[in-house]
């Protein structure tokens, strides 16, 4: 192979890599993303009751969406971990939930301890069946949840 031939080949190869680096993401982008794994109303098994210790706030996911599972003396309560202020994900901190974005604090039952959030975290219907926690659809007990927030669960 001549030096010129090699350089032409090299330029071609590098050009193909550069082109591939653009074409591959674009093709992947145009392929529609899969629909959300769990539609509203679908019941999801999030694991055995034993994985949610009593008196503790446990983070979990329902259909890819973050939730908080509480076990108060065997009664399982599940509510969304999506902060009602601007949609960040609140994390358990002791007996409270703290939102990392703007410092909203929720109690262990999902009510607002202090803002900026004003609305409580919405509940999912949940029951224990055969030792497993089954989580159903989320319910918005108040009409005042904004559209963007409800959209998080669509």
């Amino acid at each position: 192979m001549t030096r010129g031939g090699f350089l032409k080949w090299l330029i071609g190869a590098l050009g193909a890599v550069a082109l591939g680096g653009i074409v591959y993401p674009v093709v992947r982008f145009l392929k529609p993303p899969p629909a959300s794994t769990a539609a509203i109303g679908q019941v999801v098994n999030i694991g055995p009751v034993s994985s949610f210790p009593a008196g503790q706030l446990t983070a979990a996911t329902v259909g890819g969406r973050p939730v908080i599972v509480t076990n108060v003396a065997g009664k399982i309560v599940v509510y969304s971990a999506i902060c009602t202020h601007l949609g960040c994900i609140a994390a358990p901190s002791g007996t409270e939930l703290h939102c990392p974005c703007h410092g909203s604090v929720y109690s262990a039952t999902g009510t607002v301890v202090h803002g900026p959030a004003t609305l409580p975290l919405p509940f999912y219907s949940a029951k224990v069946s055969g030792g497993s926690v089954l989580v159903g659809p989320v319910t918005f007990t108040r009409a005042s949840y904004p559209t963007w927030y409800k959209g998080q669960f669509a």
């Binding site: 993401p25 674009v26 992947r28 982008f29 145009l30 392929k31 529609p32 993303p33 559209t147 963007w148 959209g151 669509a154």
Partner: protein, 243 residues
């Protein structure tokens, strides 16, 4: 080197020999040369190939306009991709943007490139303006280049302003509120401008629709027309002389 002498800067700077076949054949792969021949583009392209870039214009400060144009091309491509998933209605706009950034494969990548290329284009267009101003490149016979360039700056800003509303979040809402309020403070025609931009007294879905239309239909046509004129006049008058 004086202004009048031109040193060869590489490439084919010899005058084309009429007896020789058009040298485009040597420069283009076969298929491309075939298409160029059928379209009669050889003479046109030969003229482009034989243009000599003066040595003073190879300084990087002469690249700002070109970089701004490259960013514009990137914005066209990423913008077309974004509009595949974007939905310009008040109920769906924010969710569709969140969907692009979180669910769509490489959506965050495309959206980030669009955002940063837009920011970069505003900066580069302005820096290009400074270069033209400080090298006196706006003077005769390039006055219309300057004027079309100012229009292009305004169109770029209009692109930025209309695009800023499209995510339909709090920042978008308040930026548009402030921006259209400023337009509303214009003497005599202020109120007309305000309601024309907003599609009513307040910022509603009508505002979103109008800004979306401006951003993806009206402004692209305007910028292409003015870019065409801008580039044609550069070809016609050449790059301005040295300082």
């Amino acid at each position: 080197m004086s202004v009048d002498t031109v040193e060869p800067q590489g490439g084919d700077v010899n005058p084309p020999d009429a007896a020789q076949p058009a040298p485009t054949h040597g420069r283009m792969p076969g298929a491309l040369a075939w298409v160029a021949n059928r379209l009669g583009m050889e003479e046109l392209m030969e003229d482009q190939y034989n243009r000599i870039v003066p040595i003073h214009a190879t300084n990087y400060i002469y690249c700002f306009g070109g970089i701004a144009f490259i960013l514009f091309l990137i914005l066209v491509v990423t913008g077309i991709l974004l509009v595949v998933y974007y939905q310009p209605t008040p109920d769906a706009a924010y969710q569709s943007v969140v969907n692009i950034s979180t669910n769509v494969a490489f959506g965050w990548w495309v959206r980030s490139i669009h955002k940063w290329a837009a920011t970069g284009m505003v900066i580069l267009v302005f820096v290009h303006l400074l270069r033209v101003f400080f090298t006196s490149a706006y003077k005769r016979p390039r006055e219309l280049n300057w004027i079309s360039g100012v229009v292009l700056l305004m169109v770029t800003m209009a692109f930025g302003f209309t695009g800023y509303l499209l995510p339909w979040d709090q920042k978008a809402y308040w930026a548009t509120r402030v921006g259209t309020d400023i337009a509303g403070s214009t003497p005599f025609i202020g109120h007309f401008l305000l309601v024309s931009l907003r599609g009513g007294e307040n910022i509603t879905g009508a505002t979103l629709g109008r800004f979306f239309t401006l951003h993806v239909l009206v402004l692209p046509v305007v910028i292409v027309v003015f870019l065409g004129a801008h580039f044609w006049m550069i070809r016609r008058h050449g790059i301005s002389g040295r300082l």
